[in-house]
Amino acid sequence: MGHGVEWLESPRRDEEAELPEYWAFAGRTATGNRQGSAEGSQSGIPAGADKDLNLSPRGATLAYDSELLSAIRRDAVNDVSTTRYKWVGTRPIRPDGVPKVTGRAMYGADQTFPGALYGKVIRSPHAHARIRSIDTSKAAALPGVKAVITGADFPDHKFEYIGPERVAVNFWHVTRNVMAKEKTLYEGHAVAAIAATSKEIAEEAADLLKIDYEVLPHVIDVDDAMKDNAPLLFDDMITRGVEPTPTKPSNISKRLEFAIGDLDKGFAEADVIVEKEFKTAAVHQGYIEPHATIARVDADGQAEVWASSQGHFVVRALTAKLLNLPIGDVRVTPAEIGGGFGGKTVVYLEPVATLLAKKTGRPVKIVMSRDEVFKASGPTSGASMWVKIGVKKDGTITAADGVFKYQAGAFPGSPVMNGCLCAFAPYEVANARAVGYDVVCNRPKSAAYRAPGSPISAFAVESVLDICAKKIGMDPIELRLKNAAKAGTTMIYGPKLAHGGYIETLEALKSHPAWKAPLGPNQGRGVASGYWFNGGGESSATVQVNADGTILVATGSVDVGGSRASMAIMAAETFGVDYQNVRAIVADTASVGYTHVTGGSRVTFATGTAVVNAARKAIDDLRARAAMIWDVPVDGVIWEEGCAKPASSNVGDFKPMPLKEIAAKAAQTGGPITAAASVNAGGQAPGFASQFCDVEVDPETGKVTILRFVAAQDVGTAIHPSYVEGQIQGGVVQGIGWALNEEYIYDKNGRLDNAGFLDYRCPVASDLPMIEALLVEVPNPAHPFGAKGVGEVNICPPMAAIANAIDHAIGRRLTELPMSPPRIRAALDLPEAAD
């Protein structure tokens, strides 16, 4: 893209002289800032200590990056982590690397068994239709067909919302999403499934199915779905959360409201009030690996399932529930996972394959095509929003209000609650309100997607804040700093924030030399922030000390983002042994205790805590074994640097006994040395991210090129910094896709027009600059090593950061995603308007 040194040296835009500092970029040169960073460092780390930094391949043109990053990292990883720890904060080789690059890794579709049948799901061609009848007789009679099932073969479930409020699972809905019963509610909705001896026979049988549909009017857009005359997906859906209870059904499943303070008073205090409407498109998580499963049910009713998912315990629970099986009769083995991003926390195929296996007595394998992935697995919601924010001239936010309407897809359960809770969360706002609507429409049921709900509302809020900053002539980072939430800030959902970290991300951006670097023609710079709760909860781990002193760590967390390496690092650190002596694996549901999904940025925090606790239990056992060998009381033995040592000279004159020596005497001292630990981990700290980007807009084509992307995030303690940087880079890239290109496009019949990666345009490496990940470490005291979740919050800021940069470049405020070339061109055809 040729935007290196020459880009930094390009002349400033003409209008900049008339604008305040940020808007004019009248700031320092890169060199000046570099010197400032170096002088500010107190680390004393010798030259070359940052040689392992993950630098831009364009390092030659971003020469200052090395020193800047090293300054931050010196304050962060090097000082906080590696000087305190031997392994935490280092970047050892990933244990899953060799199987993945040599093709040995077993993904969902790779598992098979002798005699396995081919399973095929037959899907609705209609966006909305009543199923009058399904005649399976001819299909079932075809030689080679072993079973045909429809929704009638699945047990029904009571209509009730149970469990967590956001996802308030209603199994009456869940079972109908797995297999339609009365109606099909979106194109691609499963209506039947076939098990046959070959793919060809299954496809021939599909053609023999006679399905009589009554096609009904459909509704795709969330605003249309909320209209009084909209086609209803459910004739009896009464909006929850409204008083008095409505008497008329609608597509609005639920209304939510969160508020603090006095909005009228707050807006009355404002010098400037900005309000705007926004729309975002439904986007898919875009994981490379399609959903895949194979299941078998033995004659004694014991079911085994192999599946690619973000949580095999949840696959077990949902499969058992939907088929009315005891949980103990279902064993689920996790496959290697080729991406999930929230979309593999639910089930689609597993209950279908298990039921077909039960009926046929043979293993049944089902693999989704890419077309099915797009049409029948959950994207995240598209949304329609309105946000209003009032600020004083000094930048103080006096009030913030927002209405957030999220598509749930065919069944209730969009992440709108999260969107409401996170919308204003980075800021201390005394008077705020967030109103949310969960709205069903004829799209696939939405599923979680990376910080579900938060990126959507952040797009609106962070765009409005940018307009506010411009109107009062304030640097947008300074505006955010002025209002930044910190420990003690009252959140819109009630409690005070227990943990900060946001300010540090803004400071990291502010001190980045490129923040004040000049821009060229048609180029602009935008900043935005984001908030995500991060998760904790239930996790389990076991450790086994082998006879040769090596250690096996087994957890129930599917490794999506490098958790095997992180678990091995934390175990090695706790035991005081080398990382190379620890092997971490993901165990099946029969081999380790219950562990909640790999989602919500919870694994390093919660499962990591379980691993450390299990290791500590094993260490207590190792101390007891050493005490037995030395014939002294156990209290006289301590554990230090991987060895048992006498607590004092009074205990005796014993040389430190390494773990390996104790392990070799396991039989003599009581048998195998193992330990298990389970936790319900709490006290996780939230995630804050702040990012800025530079874009260039081609005025002829409307194409937006990302020239630079700088992403700062509070990561607690980076257990394996390369993986943390990878999470940040991945989240940003998905955000760039969401911002610029990705969208579900429907035709007039409610059929998806772009169900494939050729037409659903995810960003690829050639579209992107190197994403600069700035690790800001504010350790979380509730974790043994200070870890926080790092996987999600990074996707919250990019859409607004890019919209703000586009506005800066061309003077046009884009309020609808994606900001694709046609929309940019259309905006350029309109006169530049004041915000």
Partner: protein, 103 residues
């Protein structure tokens, strides 16, 4: 950790004895459904179990709803699921908020 384990100076963990009651707040939706709109309570308890028991005594059945449907913030620190083992300090602020789920 490669430092000494167990730490010799580690004091025994004792349950906190509150000098002041915990201030407990429910979400508006929750209070609308289960407590006739009452959102705030002052409850003397040393652990979250005590809070849940007290609320369940006032509104029979509420305890199970709290355990199954909420995330709890104790002095601002978020816990995905209310656990009996979570300790309270004198004057702790306890918020039961809608359950959070991630991606």
């Amino acid at each position: 950790m490669s430092d000494r384990w167990p730490k010799p100076e580690t004091p025994p963990v004792m349950p906190a004895v509150p000098a002041a009651p915990a201030h407990v707040t429910l979400s508006s939706g929750f209070s609308r459904r289960y407590t006739g709109g009452r959102r705030e309570f002052d409850i003397v308890a040393t652990s979250l179990r005590g809070v849940i028991r007290a609320l369940d005594a006032m509104y029979p059945g509420l305890g199970e709803h709290l355990e199954e449907e909420t995330t709890v913030a104790i002095d601002g620190a978020i816990h995905d699921a209310p656990g009996y083992f979570q300790q309270l300090q004198p004057g702790s602020e306890v918020f039961f908020i809608p359950k959070l789920e991630g991606g």
